[in-house]
């Protein structure tokens, strides 16, 4: 005990090392976690502490970390916003701008954090988070802009184009083979262009397929598009089953609206009813196969992209590992 009759904190030192992490964040999930961790009404833990003190008992204080060190690590972040709070933005919460557009493949470097003389693990985490946020805001804020979904393809392609110039230049400066460097630069540039072309095409056609399928009338089921397989396709040939199923589902929806329903109407009400139902089914007969074809094309592009970028495919496979067996 100290001369002031207080219980002294335990002293300790800590070191934490974290390997690179991959994060796919959704605004709704973050809000859920925040609400789950929030304590409603009074702070119940402090009520427990007060009642303990009131009963004449004395807590051991939390440990004093004379040194708490987090080693630097990398984060690759995808962010999916749900909605933008315009009221908060008007009130000065600039962080809401993050919810303007999804963010893809943003790599953040979180530097080493050394915290001296901090009491309790809660304070440690809060201070560490604050330091990281300050560090990111001061050095890596531009990444939030260039990695937003509309600009991310340009960033990747321009990085590849940069390699086309920078690598030969560096080779010339270091006296190495310029031809080899030029070949490496060409490879990097073409890889970036191909990757982004497939990705953008796949996403665009997926969006189109989704919008068109919402317009089609639900005859067979609530969704004319089949759900995608859980595993990421390794190549174009792996996409074949889903491609066939998408096209088939679209044709089935069209067949149902153009053939089956008019036939039933004809049996019930006659030719006039059949013609009316055919006319009503023409939009679906056009939209359903179109959405199926768009979905098939989108998934095919995804398979082609994974074929040319096996490292991305491995990342996606790793992000699925351990998820579905726990259900």
């Amino acid at each position: 005990m100290t001369p002031n009759n207080e219980i002294v904190n335990d002293k300790c030192e800590a070191l934490v090392k974290i390997l690179p992490l991959r994060c796919i964040l959704d605004q709704r999930a973050i809000r859920f976690i925040r609400l789950f961790a929030r304590v409603d009404g009074d702070d119940e833990s402090s009520n427990v502490a007060k009642s303990t003190k009131a009963k004449g008992r004395y807590w051991f204080p939390p440990p004093l970390f004379t040194s708490f060190r987090f080693k630097p690590f990398k984060l690759k972040v995808d962010y999916r916003p749900e909605k933008l709070d315009t009221q908060a933005l008007r009130n000065g919460a600039i962080v809401e701008l993050v919810n303007l557009s999804p963010i893809d493949n943003m790599v953040l470097m979180l530097g080493q954090v050394d915290l001296p003389d901090v009491t309790g693990i809660g304070e440690v985490l809060a201070l560490a988070a604050r330091q990281w946020v300050e560090d990111v805001c001061s050095t890596q804020l531009l990444k939030f802009l260039v990695n937003s979904r509309p600009l991310e393809p340009f960033k990747t392609v321009s990085q590849g184009a940069g390699d086309l110039v920078v690598l030969p230049w560096e080779a010339m400066q270091n006296g190495e083979s310029v031809k080899k460097a030029l070949r490496a630069g060409m490879k990097s540039f073409s890889k970036a262009v191909v990757y982004e072309a497939f990705t953008v095409t796949s996403r665009t056609s997926e969006f189109i397929a989704d919008q068109i399928s919402k317009l089609s009338v639900s005859g067979i089921g609530s969704n004319a598009l089949p759900s995608r397989p859980l595993e990421a396709p390794r190549g174009v040939f792996d996409t074949a089953p889903h491609v066939v199923e998408s096209i088939t589902r679209g044709l089935q929806a069209a067949n149902y609206k153009i053939v089956v329903v008019p036939y039933r109407e004809y049996r019930r009400t006659g030719a006039k009813g059949a013609v009316t139902s055919v006319l009503k089914g023409i939009p679906v007969a056009i939209a359903a196969p179109a959405s199926g074809a768009a979905e098939a094309f989108s998934y095919g592009m995804l398979g082609a992209r994974n074929h040319f970028s096996p490292d991305i495919r491995k990342e996606e496979e790793a992000s699925l590992r351990g998820l579905h067996l726990d259900r």
């Binding site: 335990d10 959704d26 999930a29 859920f32 009520n47 004395y58 051991f60 990398k74 491995k314």
Partner: protein
């Protein structure tokens, strides 16, 4: 228990009788088994959080071979499997258990054995009884095996400990909604606070221990001398740590030429196998490593006095040929299964806490191998009837039940406040009725009892609406956030007090893999946070953990506090 007598092997002298009773050791085989039992805990009425917890134990076994006189080491094995923890939202009465006690009516009151009011009559299965009592399953543990080794002699090597506990734990799962999780945490907190906090008498004892030594010196000058000696010893320890090169730390500032994007995350930690010396900067190279011992052994095997190493300038072709047969050094597995904690802590600058000649002895060691943890936190509430009107309406309208971004119309706000005030008045009326007691008539005269079995149409409608609301607000098993950690290994070494060092305990924690998944944003689970696999940019060693944490507790230098800090650590350990 089986009692055996083992004869001690010994040299027989001439004329000595064999098997004299003084030379025998006694062996007792101990085997205790519990199966299908429950441990029940109901929170004290003095605690704020009403709850009742039940730990169901599927199988618990304790076994050991007890030897007397006590040998150097004694081992115990404890095996536990199929455990489950249930939580109830209130202090459910023990009337059913009381009613089973023989002749309970003689020494217990009628209320204490009243089973009819519990509402579990005619319920057959255990699960239905738990559901009727509003118990929720909070957690499960598939298995846990513990080997406890008690050493009767002081540990000699750094890898030995007086008490070593090695735990192999299976899957530890927690499934809870917000209300049940909060109640469980508060129940546990209140209990652990009571067990780990000090009362006034213990505080007085502590205070007297802290200043006991200060009473011995007769004058302040000798007190100051003693304190100065301590400070000097501390400075000496610091000086030694600065002079001594501690592997893994180094006194050099990081060279910015070798930083990636301005960060030094490419630093490679110390290799576990201490017998192999790796040149600086060559940690990532792939080649065969040799150790010096092999070359010396080779030269002696051929009977040559010369040591065949290039540094001596004499090369024996036969010895050289033998040296070509290199042995493979396993980098990813340590030479000893349990390594020296001082060695593990080398990269934390442990030199400032122990002197060069110190040999810290480990008093207690706890090892946990390959633990898997799963926390699944669901949307919804396990006990929706405890919610107020606002929470219920919010849960019905938001994108998920816990959502708080809900805008009520003015009419809805008025309705909510009206319902809440009506409930408040009803509560006040009940309190008034309780205070007035029999003046309002006996409970059996209540008019509502008459129509209990046959509700009116409007009451039936309200009842259906209430049940529908409860179902909607109940736990949604398809919407959750899940935290999974696998391959968790923990090592906690608590060291004996000594004048040679200030190190109190060491904690090493490593998780091979962990991830955070959610199904809030979509129907399929999405990994919110997990390992980023990219063999080209950052290849991962098999022995690396996704998260590694090292903590070193040390004794403070304030005079007279050494004994207290050790007790505090065990208090912290108990609360953990």
């Amino acid at each position: 228990m089986i009692l055996d007598k083992l004869p001690k092997p010994q040299r027989r002298q001439e004329g000595e009788a064999v098997g004299s009773s003084d030379d025998h050791m006694k062996l007792t085989r101990l085997f205790v088994s519990f199966a299908d039992c429950n441990i029940d805990y109901s929170s004290s009425v003095h605690y704020k959080t009403p709850s009742r917890m039940m730990l169901r134990v599927g199988d618990l076994r304790l076994s050991s071979n007890l030897i007397w006189p006590a040998p150097q080491k004694q081992g115990f094995s404890i095996a536990f499997c199929d455990g489950a923890l249930y939580l109830c939202k209130e202090r459910f009465p023990y009337t059913f258990e009381n009613s089973k006690i023989p002749r309970a009516g003689r020494f217990l009151s009628a209320i204490q054995v009243d089973v009819d009011s519990l509402g579990i009559d005619g319920v057959a299965s255990a699960d239905k009884v738990l559901a009727a009592m509003d118990y929720m399953t909070i957690g499960t543990l598939s298995s846990c095996d513990a080997i406890v080794v008690v050493s009767n002699s002081p540990p000699v090597l750094g890898t030995d400990a007086s008490l070593q506990t090695s735990l192999t734990v299976g899957d530890l799962c927690v499934y809870a909604c917000k209300d049940s999780f909060t109640r469980f945490v508060l129940t546990f907190s209140e209990l652990s606070n009571d067990l780990t906090t000090l009362d006034s008498s213990a505080l007085e004892v502590l205070r007297s221990q802290s200043y006991a030594d200060l009473d011995e010196p007769e004058d302040t000058e000798s007190q100051i001398d003693v304190i100065e000696q301590k400070i000097h010893a501390f400075e000496e320890l610091k000086r030694q740590s600065v002079l001594r090169a501690v592997p893994g730390t180094g006194n050099k500032k990081p060279d910015h030429d070798f930083l990636l994007d301005g960060y030094d995350w490419t630093t490679v930690d110390q290799d576990e196998s201490s017998k192999v010396e790796i040149d600086d900067g060559e940690e990532q190279s792939a080649r065969w490593y040799r150790d010096d011992d092999q070359s010396q052994v080779t030269s002696m095997a051929f009977g040559k006095a010369v040591i065949a190493t290039p540094s001596f300038g004499v090369i024996d072709p036969l010895a050289q040929q033998e040296r070509q047969k290199l042995r493979v050094v396993t980098h990813h597995f340590p030479m000893t299964i349990v390594s020296d904690p001082m060695h593990d802590a080398a990269d934390m600058g442990i030199g400032k806490l122990i002197s060069e000649s110190a040999k810290p002895q480990t008093k207690t060691r706890i090892l946990i191998h390959d633990l898997s943890i799963r926390f699944r936190l669901f949307d919804g509430y396990d006990w929706p009837d405890l919610l107020d009107t606002r929470q219920r309406r919010t849960g019905m309208k938001g994108s998920f039940i816990l959502d708080d971004i809900v805008n009520f119309t003015p009419e809805e706000e008025l309705e909510i406040s009206a319902v809440q005030s009506a409930k408040t008045n009803e509560r006040e009326t009940d309190v008034r009725a309780q205070l007035l007691g029999d003046l309002l008539g006996s409970p059996s005269d209540k008019p509502s009892e008459t129509f209990k079995s046959c509700p009116l149409p409007e009451e039936r409608g309200a009842l259906l609406k209430e049940q529908s609301e409860r179902r909607r607000l109940a736990r949604r098993t398809a919407k959750y956030v899940q935290f999974v950690a696998s391959g968790v290994s923990v090592r906690l070494d608590s060291l004996a007090l000594s004048q040679d060092h200030r190190l109190a305990s060491c904690l090493n924690l490593k998780a091979r893999d962990f991830f955070l998944a959610e199904t809030i944003s979509s129907d399929r689970p999405v990994k919110m946070a997990g390992e980023w696999i990219n063999d080209a940019d950052h290849p991962r060693e098999t022995s690396d953990g996704l998260v590694t944490m090292k903590v070193r507790y040390h004794n403070s230098l304030v005079y007279g506090l050494v004994e207290f800090d050790t007790h505090a650590q065990f208090g912290v350990l108990n609360s953990l």
